[in-house]
Amino acid sequence: MTAAPAIEARGLRRVFRVRQGLFAEPRQVVAVDDVSFSVPAGSVLGVVGESGCGKSTLARLILGLLPPSAGDVLVDGKRLAELDRRARARLIQPVFQDPFASLNPRRRVKDIVAMPLAAQGDVPSAAMASRVAEMLARVGLSEEQGERYPAQLSGGQRQRVAIARALVLRPRIVVCDEPTSALDVSVQAQILNLLAELRRELGLTYLFISHNLAVVEHVASEVAVMYLGRIVERSEAEALFRAPGHPYTRALLASVLTPEPGLGVPDVGLGDAMPDPANIPPGCRFHPRCPQAFDRCPREAPAAWATAGGFAECHLLEPTAPAGLAGAGASQRQLAR
């Protein structure tokens, strides 16, 4: 593809200073650490990882809600920092996790959906009303529901309102931050189907953030696995699930409990050490929990090595690694990044 990628992150880094306890010294928390990726227009990049891995911070950086400590975000080939906020709004929009917190409880649904149009400042009110009505219908809400307040809607309906608000400006990119995590399974399926339909019809690009690997597998064309602020593996989706390169990805995949009786609960073999973003281990940041860690891991940060569908940051994938340890699909050259 010759066109500029829809989203491009270059060396993104975000550091927070937090104080735990009244007397403790403030500590630096590196929430996102040197993250680079690009998402081609029309595709879906799924970002997975556990709580505290920095995936939500990444979403906020891409949306421009947080300024990066270092690095750049490019949207549609233009640097986000240089775009006026109204121009940004026409390009990229969010859908958040909690449908209870993402809608202003004091405004009617139709006003919530109209808000981005109003913020543009140049949309005539007649056009506004018709676009809102059209959008509500598109996400499966009735005109009557447009007159209600969010408190009168169910979780799934609220998430439809949030989607309508995100799409009313016809953006090209939508950042979905855990859009179905707060919903029941039966409703989750409705929302996932709606998002997929809208993407096909409107040619949208999604950055889809979730902790649920099964959901990401279902929607994403490419997947990035985050661990303690870094993308430790990125791969074309199908290859990732067929042949995961990073031991952490393997553990994540093994932990997905599919509804298949008789398989029992897998042993993920990660021990009880928990990742702490305020205290990132030296070398490979995954080594304290890694079942395959060896003497090199705590000393040296691994480079990115090629896998079947992309790359992963693990010493085991290095062609010169101890024989037999190299993960499936590792190729012979280090990826140029």
């Binding site: 906020r60 949306l63 421009g64 809600l65 906020r85 109204r86 121009a87 940004r88 709004a89 026409r90 990229i92 929009q93 969010p94 958040f96 996790q97 909690d98 209870f100 917190a101 993402s102 809608l103 202003n104 409880p105 004091r106 405004r107 919530i112 808000m115 981005p116 109003a118 913020a119 543009q120 408190a151 949030a162 608000r165 995100a166 400006l169």
Partner: protein, 287 residues
């Protein structure tokens, strides 16, 4: 889930009654303040030394001419009480308007923008809290002379702390909610985010504070006037009426009862209103 596990409040009707009682008290006082002199036959300032300390109607010797009796200068107590209601209400309302504007502005700005601005706001609040209100108010009035406007000005400039604290903390909460983030991503201006997304969602909290502050302002004005450093005589502030009656209270205790009960009832009513608002807030927050 917690909603399903808590039993519905059985005191709901009791609370509504309390709210209505509060509204009734405040309503009656406000009406008296507005109608003022047109509902009493007597002039609150007219002295009649021949009719000093006439007892109220419920005591032996009380009459219909002066239902609440007269004071030490023979002025009709009911007329003075009604005029005093006007003073209390005006002081309460204007103080709340002034302090509400100052406090809400500071609190919302600090809570919304955070960082340096918030540090400054927090510092201002801390400084304000460490200044003893009564003492400073007394000192200012003492040095600059008693006047009605000065009392309002001083109280308005001093009582904004709770507005600022509440506005700041609620704004911080709202500011971190996703609907504000969504407005930001939609390109809304800071002003429109404050006005459309933040203010409507903290308004009820501020209303509760307003009732508390109004009650406090009325009490403080009465205290200042009682100490002789508030509303100047012969204006019939309730606090001043108590102060003037103090010398006679050991012989005829009703002279301090009448203005005292009025003051207590008004403040009590305002607090009942505030409590009612707070309850409504509680049920709202629980969705």
């Amino acid at each position: 889930m917690s909603e399903a596990l808590t039993a519905p409040g059985d005191g709901a009707t009791g609370r509504r009654l309390a709210f209505l009682l509060g509204a009734l008290i405040v309503g009656v006082v406000a009406l008296a303040a507005v109608l003022g002199p047109s509902i009493t036959p007597h002039d609150p300032f007219a002295q009649d030394l021949g009719k000093r300390l006439v007892v109220p109607f419920w005591m032996e010797g009380g009459g219909r001419e002066h239902p609440l009796g007269t004071d030490q200068l023979g002025r009709d107590y009911l007329a003075r009480l009604i005029y005093g209601a006007r003073i209390s209400m005006v002081i309460g309302v204007l103080t709340v308007v002034a302090s509400g504007l100052i406090g809400t502005t500071l609190g919302v700005l600090g809570g919304f923008f955070g960082g340096r601005i918030d540090d400054l706001v927090l510092f201002a609040i801390t400084c304000r809290l460490s200044i003893p209100v009564v003492l400073v108010a007394l000192a200012v009035v003492g040095l600059m002379g008693n006047s009605f406007t000065l009392v309002i000005l001083v109280l308005g400039l001093l009582l904004w702390d709770r507005f600022a604290v509440v506005a700041r903390s609620t704004t911080m909460q709202v500011r971190n909610l996703d609907y504000v983030s969504a407005a930001w991503c939609a390109g809304s201006s800071s002003f429109s985010m404050l006005v459309r997304e933040v203010l409507p969602n903290i308004a009820t909290h501020l209303a509760v504070v307003a009732t508390l502050e109004m009650a406090l302002a009325i009490l403080l004005e009465a205290a200042l006037s009682f100490l002789g450093l508030g509303v100047p005589p012969p204006l019939p502030s309730w606090g001043l009426m108590i102060a003037e009656a103090k010398d006679y209270m050991f012989f005829s205790p009703w002279v301090i009862m009448v203005p005292g009960v009025a003051l207590f009832a008004l403040v009590f009513g305002i607090n009942l209103l505030g409590d009612g608002l707070r309850e409504m807030l509680g049920t709202q927050d629980a969705r």
